[in-house]
């Protein structure tokens, strides 16, 4: 799909990882507790309760504003967004409307063509999360719905981008970069379920804009946008018009669905929140000390560890991964960095994704042990992968965990360097069993040698040192020729 004609803007809502809620002292760590246990008169919107602002949440939001090069506005204010819904305890959400905390700014992402591209931001504002409904059955045909106000009052920031994104892939990159930045700033925990929600505005050049709401995962963004672009292009191809509308993304089915027209008629009747005073926090900006951010760390990884651009990008794309890498190489930065970068950015990530497994449970010390074994030439790359798989599976199945050296010993994976006996036998067997390959080799076909290497590796269960094997195999073939 040629996507030069696609225009995408995102509105990203992120929960700020504060200890207490935005307008009351309730603990934000509600996910493992029962419904309606993290509530008080304020976040339940009981009659007479008033909000009092959590300064830490504002400070967190300002860290983000500074990191994203935004301008903090000298006077910002909170407004009420009025609408009825059972999860909204006060029947209005305290948010920011015409005087947001910060405006402007940008985030750099890797463009689809390679190189960096600045995605401009419109604004960042602070608001409270509503509670949530739990539908018994499904929304349409469920018997009833229950409401849980634990989430009500969790601080959110909404980051609004300009319509600068050109493809679903770029949107995904934007989100990944944003997530990394927020994590580096220590204001956001992407592991928490529902901590990020995205609304997307999508249009085909010259056509109406459609807002897709309710995207709740990183993968979902790419899926929803891809679906919506195809839908809009099909509409246009049929010679019809794309309606300006709001659609919901149904994550389970991977489709967007037109929102009922009733919801479109919402007039939020914004007006300034009379119970809170305007914010004058611009002077805080200078006191905010930013930590090293993803771009800076990527450059450092290239300079300090000699990482390739791709490896550095992958490793610094997640705070935990970057920290993991630096822990692993800390014992011998010079010796281990190249090997560790490859083994983490390529092998480990691949194996984790395959298992749908998180990095957290991987013990950096064990992993370092594995890299040391590879570095010392004790095991081959192929055996290394096998050891890693055992390590991850033990972790996943909650079995007794062995150190890499123990796995190598138990599975007899040590490289058979010097043990010409086993390798020689295997070589002889391989050549004898594959006369066609011998013939091809003699005929000068390059693939024949590789085929035979593969056969020998199979017989030695990968323990043969690849360099040594190559040398021995060529020698054996030369002998046969004689």
């Amino acid at each position: 799909m040629a996507e030069t004609d696609v225009i995408i803007g995102l509105e990203v809502h992120c929960q700020l990882d504060t200890k207490s809620k935005l307008f009351c002292g309730c603990d934000t760590d509600y996910r493992s507790d029962g419904p309606n246990t993290h509530v008080c008169p304020i976040c339940l919107g009981l009659p007479g309760a008033m909000p009092s602002l959590n300064k830490r949440a504002i400070e967190y939001a300002m860290r983000v504003a500074k990191a994203l090069n935004c301008t903090v506005i000298p006077e910002s204010e909170f407004s009420r967004k009025n609408y009825f819904y059972p999860d909204l305890d006060k029947a209005y959400q305290i948010t920011q409307y015409d005087k947001p905390l910060a405006e402007g700014g940008y985030l750099e992402i890797e463009s689809d063509e390679g190189g960096e591209r600045k995605i401009r931001l419109t604004r960042i504002h602070v608001e409270e999360d509503p509670g949530r409904l739990v539908h018994m059955g499904n929304v349409e045909r469920g018997k009833y719905s229950l409401v849980d106000y634990n989430r009500a009052g969790i601080p959110l920031i909404e980051i609004v981008s300009e319509p600068d994104l050109r493809s679903p892939k770029e949107a995904r990159k934007f989100l990944n970069k944003l997530r990394a930045t927020l994590e580096y700033l220590n204001v956001f925990d992407s592991d928490k379920e529902g901590s990020l929600r995205v609304d997307a505005n999508i249009s085909i050049v010259g056509s109406e804009r459609v807002e897709v709401k309710n995207i709740t995962s990183y993968k979902g963004v790419e899926k929803a946008l891809t679906f919506e672009i195809t839908r809009q292009k099909n509409v246009l191809r049929r010679g019809q018009r794309v309606d300006r509308e709001t659609r919901h993304f149904l994550e389970s089915r991977g489709v967007t669905q037109s929102a009922r027209s009733k919801e479109l008629e919402n007039d939020y009747r914004y007006f300034p929140e009379p119970d809170l005073r305007p914010l004058h926090v611009q002077s805080w900006v200078k006191d905010i000390v930013l930590p090293e951010l993803p771009d800076a760390r990527r450059e450092r990884f290239m300079a300090q560890y000699g990482c390739s651009l791709n490896h550095a990008r992958t490793l610094t794309g997640e705070l935990k991964l970057a920290n993991f890498f630096e822990t692993v190489v800390s014992s011998d930065p010079k010796g281990l960095s190249t090997l560790a970068a490859t083994w983490i950015a390529d092998t480990l990530i691949g194996e984790l994704n395959y298992r749908d497994m998180h990095l957290d449970p991987v013990d950096p010390e064990s992993f370092t042990g594995l890299v040391h074994l590879l570095k010392a030439g004790t095991i081959t790359d192929k055996s290394g992968v096998e050891v890693l798989r055992v390590m991850l599976d033990q972790r996943l199945k909650n079995e007794t965990r062995e150190i890499p050296a123990a796995i190598v010993a138990r599975l007899n994976l040590a490289k058979t360097a010097g043990d010409t006996g086993a390798v020689t036998t295997a070589i002889e067997e391989a050549i004898t069993e594959n006369p066609k390959a011998l013939e091809d080799y003699r005929a000068g076909k390059a693939g024949a040698l590789n085929f035979l290497v593969g056969q020998v590796m199979k017989k030695t269960r990968g323990k043969a040192d690849p360099g040594e094997l190559n040398r021995m195999l060529i020698e054996a073939l030369r002998k046969r020729e004689a």
Binding site: P41, L46, P47, G48, A49, S52, R269, D275
Partner: protein, 433 residues
């Protein structure tokens, strides 16, 4: 501290109370054992709080308003919850879902509102002091009509935390009492900063009223004695001001041109805020429950239609309309400009005078049922709303009678100069005793 209690079993002939606490507990302190009545829009832990509305029938708050906590700490005994116009919307206490309160001075007349229950309870001698709330005159009007004293404090002087909001930017909780001293004493207990109310200020009130007003300059705004003000009432108030002059004060004529827009600015602001504040009453969390078998929006409509009285519904609709996109600039934004003009007018006048004096209400208490159309009722607030728009302190102190009914003298002061308006009221009270 040993738990004590008093016996409170008044004969409530005026329907002043919605809830009576017969054996209210109390501790030691400044108000030890004194029965204090609390308007029913102020949250009281464990005591039903309805705002005189069916929509909150049965609602028992799990927490105390900040001022109620302060009352309890001061040793006061919470004697009960007083009747009011539903959610504070009214000037007569006739808009109560639980029947009107009668004026103890003449049971054929209204006690004023919206804090009519508190005023009547004091006027009838059931309690010495009570808490009221004043959004556009709701403390001062019933104080004037019932012949007692009531103070609307400066905006920010008393925490609103726990006051069930009607119009947040205008209203204050304030003391009402038989005498200025009672009002001052109660003010001392309730004033001060509260971290739960971001609009409250660290301005505690520790003051003993002083009767010396020699050299005091009093502004007399022409608008407070103009058309619409009952000449009999104006006459009584002028005489009272003459009394203040005898005590050594001088008067300065002045004018508040912005008053022309004050009433409109007031009603736009309060209805807008109310439409948002009252949206939470949906039957999901408290009050009479919504029908869970219906679609939520149908259930909401049903609960709200049945739960709110006519005046409340009228104001919600007015406010909803005024905030609708496209009308915001025409109404709400304009009202804020008018409000700023009122504030500036007061500032200008206070450059030359210490306080401003005039009648609290343009008339004496209405007869029950007399004000049947809403607009003529709204017009009765003309002399009280300017103080709310400007956020300044204003007190009403009894100053005689017209047609046999009490008349209130209103003293307004600079923002946070609550002590001064109390002193002037005290000087008058002491002079006429």
């Amino acid at each position: 501290m040993a738990e004590k209690s008093i016996v409170f079993e008044p004969e409530d002939r005026y329907n002043a109370f919605l809830t009576v606490c017969n054996k209210p507990p109390h501790t030691d302190g400044k108000l030890a054992g004194i029965a204090v009545a609390v308007k029913d829009n102020i949250s009281t832990r464990g005591i039903e709080t309805t705002c005189a509305s069916r929509i909150l029938k049965g609602y028992v708050p799990p927490y105390d308003a900040h001022v109620v906590g302060l009352l309890r700490k001061s040793g006061a005994a919470i004697a009960g919850k007083t009747n009011m116009d539903e959610f504070g919307m009214g000037t007569t206490t006739e808009n109560s879902a639980f029947g009107p309160t009668l004026n103890p001075c003449d049971t054929g007349r209204v006690p004023g509102g919206s804090s009519g229950g508190s005023a009547a309870a004091i006027a009838a001698g059931m309690v010495r002091m009570a808490l009221g709330t004043d959004t556009g005159g709701s403390i001062r009007c019933p104080a004037a009509f019932c012949g007692i004293t009531g103070l609307k404090p400066s905006y920010g002087r008393v925490s609103r935390y726990g006051l069930i909001a009607y119009a947040n930017s205008l209203e204050q909780i304030g003391p009402m009492g038989k005498t200025v001293t009672d009002v001052s004493t109660l003010m001392e207990v309730i004033a001060g900063y509260d971290r739960h109310d971001s609009t409250s200020h660290n301005k505690p009130y520790t003051h003993t009223p002083k009767a010396d007003i020699k050299g005091l300059k009093i502004g007399i705004p022409a608008e407070y004695f103009g058309p619409g003000v009952d000449p009999a009432v104006a006459g009584v108030v002028k005489k009272a001001i003459g009394r203040l002059e005898e005590l050594g004060a001088t008067t300065v004529p002045c004018s508040i041109p912005s008053m022309e827009y004050a009433l409109a600015a007031y009603y736009v602001t309060c209805t807008c805020e109310a439409s948002s504040n009252l949206a939470r009453f949906d039957g999901v969390r408290y009050g009479p429950a919504a029908d869970t078998k219906k679609q939520w929006h149908d259930a909401y409509q049903e609960v709200r239609r049945a739960g709110f009285g006519t005046e409340v519904r009228r104001r919600i609709m007015l406010g909803t309309f005024a905030l609708t996109s496209g009308y915001y600039g025409k109404y709400y934004a304009k009202a804020q400009v008018a409000r700023e003009n009122v504030r500036k007018d007061f500032q200008r006048i206070f450059d030359g005078v210490d306080v401003i004096a005039g009648p609290t209400m343009p008339t004496v208490a209405f007869k029950l049922g007399e004000k049947s159309d809403p607009l003529s009722m709204y017009l009765a607030d003309i002399l009280t709303v300017p103080a709310n728009l400007a956020g300044i302190p204003a007190i009403s102190v009894p100053c005689g009678k017209a047609d046999g009914m009490p008349v209130g003298l209103q003293i307004m002061g600079r923002h946070f100069d609550d002590e001064r308006v109390v002193d002037v009221a005290y000087a008058y009270e002491q002079a006429v005793i």
